[in-house]
């Protein structure tokens, strides 16, 4: 059993509880703007709900999962006592405080600015300060991960860092640096306006700052999922990691190329030069590389498991896989959604193709499929895998777990496929109301209705997930043994220094941020007359 199970359980329970609330809000939003809902005559309520949904799902939930999982990895993979437990609790409570502080103004309708802030919309300062506290809390975790690795290195000079910890620390560094963009936007631009020190804001510059955060944050969300692919799944299904080196290369590639690509979110923004948009677009294409490497390595790892179980033939081994194992099921679902969502992502990142789907429902469909689908389903898997080691009790009801995973997969497909489709038809995103009685959009009513039903399926699955975890807290006691990670076919005895440390890749990440963001940020910051009056939410 893990020594810091209370700490990790606190992170997971808070994460999954707020996830349950945000999921309910999400399902309500799908319903209320679909033809089956009665229009509630107040778009402000919709945006309030949307802000809460985004803030929880984007900032609170994945950050806490990454943190809780990170503490578990640090303890189990390094096989040493977690250094800085008190600090870890401080980080946790900062996040709780920040979440409460942010959610109150949202609930009061004083911060309906959506989680992407969208200046010149300005909400209550408590909302932004709450978000800052969440980020600061998570930075404590980043520091703790680095410190724990350092302590381990001192005790094991020259030894290869366990893959799970290597990847975990890479993810934490990525988060530390990518959060700087939004932090600069909040601290230098939004909060001064929000507390009344200034009345105008450079919305273009703010959008560039936010794009710094907005893409790499997705890879931070993705990290626990990829760590689970490499270090949990092969062990859980009885296989081996096909290549430890390939795994390390994937993670360092994420570190380097996930950062300098965010401007593909601002393709339609006039304040950014086309040359920079092109560079960002090209680097975004590169980020497909670590994912393709991962898909290859994991398929090979899974094949090893299948062949060990007696699988034969070119594709015959697929049948020999342990399909009743929830981890296998989660991986398969995650890969299908990753493949489909990734293909959609290639469309978003290309300058020309993006023009046809920019700011349409396609985008919302895309990030729900990738994040809500491929990533979150592995969060479920991580929780299921860790639960017996956290509670000292067995999760017995595998059938219920499989049902939950199936429902999530089906729900996500039913929700996001029509969502993509209406986006191609031109339906804009961030709208509280659609007049489906109008002949021009009446044909989209059916697709949106399907989508809403998908939302209900997801809600059912999410609640089932919480029920399974809660029941797991009361199951009969059983010792799950030490928590182990998958081992590679060729466990490395030595690893080149470049693949055993992060310094080179962190340096490249920072250099690329400067080359790709430096000039646009500087010109926007130094150009006069680019600010616009702030629009205060809920103010008269």
């Amino acid at each position: 059993m893990l020594a810091n199970r209370k700490l990790i359980l606190a992170h997971f329970w808070f994460a999954f509880s707020v996830f349950g609330v945000a999921l309910t809000l999400g399902a309500w939003q799908m319903f209320i703007r679909s033809p089956i809902g009665t229009w509630l005559s107040n778009p402000e309520l919709y945006y309030r709900s949307l802000t809460a949904h985004g803030t929880v799902m984007g900032y609170v939930f994945p950050t806490l999962v990454a943190m809780g999982f990170g503490y578990a990895i640090s303890e189990a993979a390094l096989e040493q006592r977690l250094v800085g437990v008190r600090w870890a609790w401080a980080g946790f409570w900062l996040i709780v405080l920040g979440s409460v502080m942010a959610i109150i103004p949202i609930a009061l309708g004083r911060a309906s600015v959506l989680y992407t802030f969208y200046p010149p919309l300005i909400g209550s300062p408590f909302y932004y300060i709450g978000v800052v506290l969440v980020v600061v809390g998570s930075w404590i975790w980043v520091a703790l991960m680095a410190i724990n690795l350092r302590v381990w290195r001192k005790a094991h000079p020259g030894a290869p860092v366990p893959l799970a910890m290597f990847a975990n620390v890479a993810g934490s560094y990525l988060w530390a640096w990518t959060a700087v963009g939004a932090a600069l936007e909040l601290l230098l631009q939004i909060i001064p306006v929000s507390v009344g020190l200034k009345a105008t804001i450079d919305a273009g510059l703010a959008r560039v700052f936010f794009s710094w955060t907005l893409h790499a944050i997705v890879y931070f969300w993705l990290m626990p999922t990829y760590i689970a692919y490499y270090t949990i799944v092969p062990r859980a299904i009885g296989g081996r990691v096909y290549s430890d080196t390939m795994a390390r290369i994937s993670f360092i590639l994420f570190l380097v190329v996930a950062m300098p690509i965010g401007m593909h979110h601002t393709f339609a923004d006039p304040q950014v030069g086309a040359g920079f948009k092109f560079i960002h677009s090209a680097f975004t294409a590169l980020v497909a590389l670590p994912t393709l490497l991962t898909v290859f390595t994991i398929c090979a790892s899974v094949e090893i498991a299948a062949r060990l179980r007696g699988g034969r033939g070119m594709f015959g081994w697929i049948r020999a896989l342990p399909w009743d194992n929830p981890m296998m099921l989660a991986l398969a679902f995650s890969f299908v959604m990753l493949g489909l969502g990734g293909a959609g992502g290639l469309i978003n990142m290309s300058y020309q193709l993006d023009a046809s789907i920019h700011n349409t429902q396609w985008i919302t469909g895309h990030f729900h499929l990738i994040f809500g689908g491929a990533i979150v389903i592995m969060y479920f898997a991580i929780a299921y895998d860790l639960w017996p080691h956290l509670t000292g009790r067995e999760l017995i009801d595998l059938r219920l777990i499989r049902t939950q995973l199936w429902l999530w997969f089906i729900g996500m497909i039913v929700t996001t496929f029509p969502w993509h489709w209406v986006g191609i038809l031109g339906m804009p995103r961030r709208m509280a109301y659609f007049d489906f009685g109008h002949p021009a959009i009446a044909p989209q009513a059916l697709s949106v209705t399907f989508s809403a039903f998908g939302g209900f399926i997801l809600l059912t699955s999410g609640l089932l997930f919480l029920v399974i975890l809660a029941r797991g807290m009361r199951a009969p006691q059983a010792d799950a043994g030490p928590y182990r990670f998958a081992i590679a076919v060729h466990q490395p005895a030595t690893v080149p220094v470049a693949l055993n440390t992060h310094a080179l890749w962190v340096a490249l990440m920072i250099v690329l941020t400067i080359t790709n963001y430096g000039y646009p940020i500087l010109t926007l910051a130094l150009t006069e007359g680019t600010s616009v009056p702030a629009v205060y939410v809920g103010a008269q």
């Binding site: 778009p43 009344g196 086309a274 109008h438 080179l504 890749w505 009056p533 008269q540």
Partner: protein, 271 residues
């Protein structure tokens, strides 16, 4: 295993990592800043530097394009939610004295009998903005402009505070309350028209937008038509003109009649 072993060109991982990234950057920069700008046959560049500056997004004005001449004055008022938020009693008193000259049209209690706007209890920011615009010429009216032209900044603030301080009384000519028309609560999404209520009350209120309940139907209709026809142009970024131009005459009638029929005591309590 130290930083010195890593950050050296003797380490092939370092050389490969830095080399590949640098090569990528150079190739994409050449493509993005030189090749692609010149690949656009419809854009002419004087030289390479011109193309690079254009692709980098350097703020510049094309030499052969002159900025359109601005003949009409635009509104220069900046409003925030803090504008005039805490008036003193003295300011309100001075405003009351000044307001005596407004009473002939806007009524001694701020309720008009002449199809002018009712000002009693109107948001201070709204009166503040309109008076500034009348004074600067961004908004013109044969009757109002001469009154506003000699007002000082302080007098405008005092008048705004005074009228905002007055209680909202039922309109002078109330009609039976009408049901909410679609244009007020839904707008017309397919024509890009936000609901009236999203800014003017009923649903939400935005800084600088007046509440409209109980105002004169003739006045509101005339203003919407003035926005649509471009005679009134003191709305920032044409937000009202864009809406008014897209409204049908029936929608203008419906919105004006609806708001005129509402008693002002149902103004959404956001202040």
């Amino acid at each position: 295993m130290s930083a010195r072993d890593l950050f050296t060109f003797r380490n092939r991982h370092f050389t490969a990592g830095v080399g590949i990234i640098a090569a990528m950057l150079i190739v994409t920069a050449i493509a993005g800043f030189i090749v692609l700008p010149f690949a656009q046959p419809w854009v002419q560049f004087a030289n390479f530097w011109d193309a690079i500056c254009s692709a980098a997004g350097v703020p510049q004005r094309a030499a052969n394009v002159t900025a359109p001449e601005q003949t009409k004055r635009l509104s220069e008022v900046v409003l925030t939610s803090h504008t005039l938020s805490r008036p003193s009693q003295e300011a309100i008193g001075r405003g009351a004295t000044l307001a005596q000259r407004c009473a002939i049209c806007h009524g001694p209690t701020g309720i008009s009998r002449a199809d002018s706007p009712n000002l009693a209890g109107q948001y201070a920011a709204v009166i503040y903005k309109e008076l500034h615009d009348f004074r600067s010429g961004a908004r013109t009216n044969a009757v109002m402009s001469p009154f506003a032209v000699n007002l000082t900044d302080e007098e405008i603030a005092d008048l705004s505070n005074y009228y905002a301080y007055l209680p909202r009384l039922p309109a002078y000519h109330p009609t039976p309350q009408l049901p909410k028309p679609n244009i007020v609560i839904y707008g017309a999404p397919m024509r890009g028209i936000a609901p009236c209520g999203a800014c003017h009350g009923s649903l939400d209120n935005k800084t600088g937008s007046p509440w409209l309940e109980g105002q004169s139907e003739a006045y509101m209709k005339a203003q919407l038509e003035a926005f649509a026809g471009g005679e009134r142009r003191n709305d920032i970024s044409q937000q009202m003109r864009n809406i008014a131009r897209a409204l049908t005459p029936q929608e203008i009638e419906a919105a004006a009649a609806y708001y005129a029929s509402q008693p002002p005591d149902i103004v959404k309590a956001v202040d």
